[in-house]
Chain length 443, copies 2
């Protein structure tokens, strides 16, 4: 490991759970770790594992997208519509096909939006606030609106609901997805609960994919609120790390139809981490009733989204096979980074019982759970040593992790060399803070 | 005129005001016009003067924009930021400079948005509804919110306020802009009036540019509502028809500052009718206080707008001089079309006193005022003969033109040949409906 300069020296003696160490042993260990930490700080590093940004070489994969449209080709879609001009509210035909294939629905269930699925989700909540859903009371006219938030989860989801004053109720994640006993109980008993945030595949931050049973139970929910909706953010639908070991997620819209709940889900998707973040194409897939409801707003809100960019994506990727092929190239870059982080965690923290993590098969994150009460201090120590981690607490509504335990690791952006260094600092900080914490408990 | 096949036959005898004709003369005229109209209908035309869409040859002017970014150039902005990735919420530096120059403000007053200024305006109203403006009560919590709507005006503005249940109060346009006596009186006396829609330069549909005095009076408004804002849609800021005969509009933000009213205006702008409609770049320019307020939302709403497209625009246009040069090419295409319509109106309707119009020096529209009670019938007759006009009433809130008089003519999209034909049909329908109307009045 490239992080050998920071790790290993104390490892010969301390390979057993920290909790089994005597006070004197722990004190000696803390001393050694502090010394290493001071050495690390003196290196003046400036590394970032905080956000799920693709790296420059991942972005290079899509540079061909800049060549497919040029002054020598026409910018008409397959129906002969001039994509340079006004018109076509819900997306050009072939873009709907491409994103429908990616979303595993039929194109007539799609609306293509602009560059950001986050913006589509914001917009969906905002519309519900001002105009309500399918004729129901606008949420801004209600005394109380609540959302369920599986935790740990995606900070930007929680920011949207917080911004609109929506009360957030935490639901713990299990290895199968959100705790469905709790979801069913809450949703069926409280009509002020209007939604739930879900990242059903390679979830942010844990990389968990909802099990078949979880999806079945979602589709069969009997919400007390007729305007309850599942916000199904399928951000990592094609974002596998391995060709031969992928998670499978059941398509929810069809399950909802089967269950007689066709209008229950808004499904979001985008090419942000496929082509260029911020210059991709986002979409929503949902039932005909919901689409009709959304289009009432859409005709007022915009003259239509960027059709030239839709065309650019289609001409570059061609079809869903092109996207899968492209994602294999992303995986080839991401896989060693994920493995480097996971191997470091395993090698440096395995058996010490001062942290736990899940080995994801896709997505953008690794979720680390430190000893209770340690996350903020670990992130703070990392920062002092020049390594920026996602703020502790960010994976919980209101930035409040009740156990102060969860830390999101984003391995995608740094170079492999930087990642190894950053990881070395991280595990060092985990050890040091854990040792301190256990010593405090002994007092 | 290419429309000679439809016009002229009756013109030898009838060059005087229709109102001066005796009943028998009018009846004979109506007969002749009906015959011509039946001939016109039999041609089976399919022409459209309904929307302000650029023509294909205008769009061709920007095809070079498809070449400036390709896989052989980097997509870094002038500050070295990789525009392909996440980040940069309010726009890349050089795009802010370009659109600031176009908006005649400094770049620090700008936020660059996505592809549609209409969407920015929608968003601005929506945010005021859910969160209020600069700490004031959200509009959705108020019993009544009203907007002033200069008429005739832009239908899509009125659609936004109607969608949010905002009561619209008509204010008549004068050749100098909105009737400022009325605006001042209403705004200063009623704190439920929260905004006014303005297209201050080459207004939609009349092509009127607000006079210096009008802008001064806007900047010096003393609204009863502290959260009153002027929605200043400078859609046609560089959209001149003539190089040597242009309207000049005073920059409003600076005037507001001078008047001690710095936060009074949201100024909107976009490249929609400069590059490609729907694939352009939109922006808002406003005071530091308003910007701060807007950014509270923006950080929640989006991961940032399409920076690659911002870069594409800057690399193509280079600077404001590049935009002006480009707009001269648009003008060269648009000018003959405007002149063809105006000349036809002049030649065929001049002196008949059955309609009036303004000769605009820029923008996208010609506004025609028919005899009272005739607009709907004229538009209907045009449609029956295969010429689609903007729906009568569209230029008024709730689509209700109290005089049923105003018709918006959009000359940009058809080819010159089609435009001549469409215009011929239009003036024929104006004559026929006017003759019918005057005969009805005689009964």
């Amino acid at each position: 490991m490239a992080s050998a300069w920071l790790c290993g020296a104390e490892s010969e003696e301390i390979m057993k759970p920290y909790r089994q160490l005597k006070k004197q042993e722990l004190e000696q260990l803390r001393g050694e770790l502090e010394q290493k930490y001071e050495e690390a700080k003196s290196l003046g590093l400036k590394l970032d594992m905080s956000r799920g940004k693709p790296s420059a070489d991942q972005l290079d994969l899509s540079m061909g997208m800049m060549d497919v449209l040029h002054s020598g080709v026409d910018l008409n879609d397959s129906e002969g519509i001039d994509c340079r001009n006004y018109g076509v509210l819900d997306g050009v035909k072939e873009a709907k096909q491409l994103l429908a294939d990616m979303s595993e629905v039929s194109p007539d269930k799609m609306i293509i939006y602009g560059n950001s699925s986050l913006n589509v989700m914001y917009d969906t909540v905002s519309r519900a606030m001002t105009h309500g859903i399918m004729g129901h009371t606008p949420w801004c006219k209600l005394d109380k609106v609540k959302f369920l938030c599986p935790v740990p989860g995606y900070d930007r989801h929680f920011s949207i609901t917080e911004y609109f004053g929506i009360e957030m109720i935490c639901v713990p994640m299990t290895p199968e997805g959100p705790d469905m006993d709790l979801v069913e109980k809450l949703v069926s008993s409280d009509d002020s609960i209007k939604g739930i945030w879900c990242v059903p595949k390679y979830s942010n931050p844990q990389g968990i994919t909802y099990s078949d049973e979880t999806v079945h139970r979602f589709a069969r929910l009997k919400p007390a609120a007729p305007d309850f909706r599942i916000f199904w953010d399928n951000a990592y639908c094609v974002h596998h790390l391995y060709d031969d070991d992928q998670d499978f997620l059941i398509e929810i819209l069809e399950e909802c139809e089967k269950a007689g709940n066709p209008d229950l889900v808004y499904k979001f998707c985008s090419t942000s981490k496929i082509s260029f973040p911020g210059s991709g194409v986002a979409c929503i897939a949902t039932s005909p009733n919901n689409l009709k409801d959304i289009k009432l707003q859409l005709t007022i809100q915009t003259i239509g989204h960027d059709k030239v960019n839709q065309l650019r994506h289609v001409r570059f990727f061609q079809d869903i096979d092109g996207i899968h092929e492209h994602m294999r190239k992303h995986a080839a870059i991401l896989r060693p980074k994920f493995e480097a982080v996971l191997d470091t965690l395993e090698q440096e923290l395995g058996g010490l019982e001062i942290g736990s993590w899940i080995r994801p098969k896709g997505g953008y994150f690794i979720s680390f759970d430190a000893l209770e009460g340690c996350a903020r201090r670990i992130v703070e120590k990392c920062r002092e040593a020049g390594v920026v981690m996602t703020e502790a607490g960010a994976t919980y509504p209101y930035h409040q992790d009740p156990k102060d335990s969860n830390i999101r690791i984003a391995p995608s952006f740094p170079t492999p060399e930087d990642l190894a260094k950053a990881c070395g600092i991280f595990v060092l900080c985990v050890k040091l803070v854990s040792a301190e914490k256990l010593l405090e408990e002994m007092v």
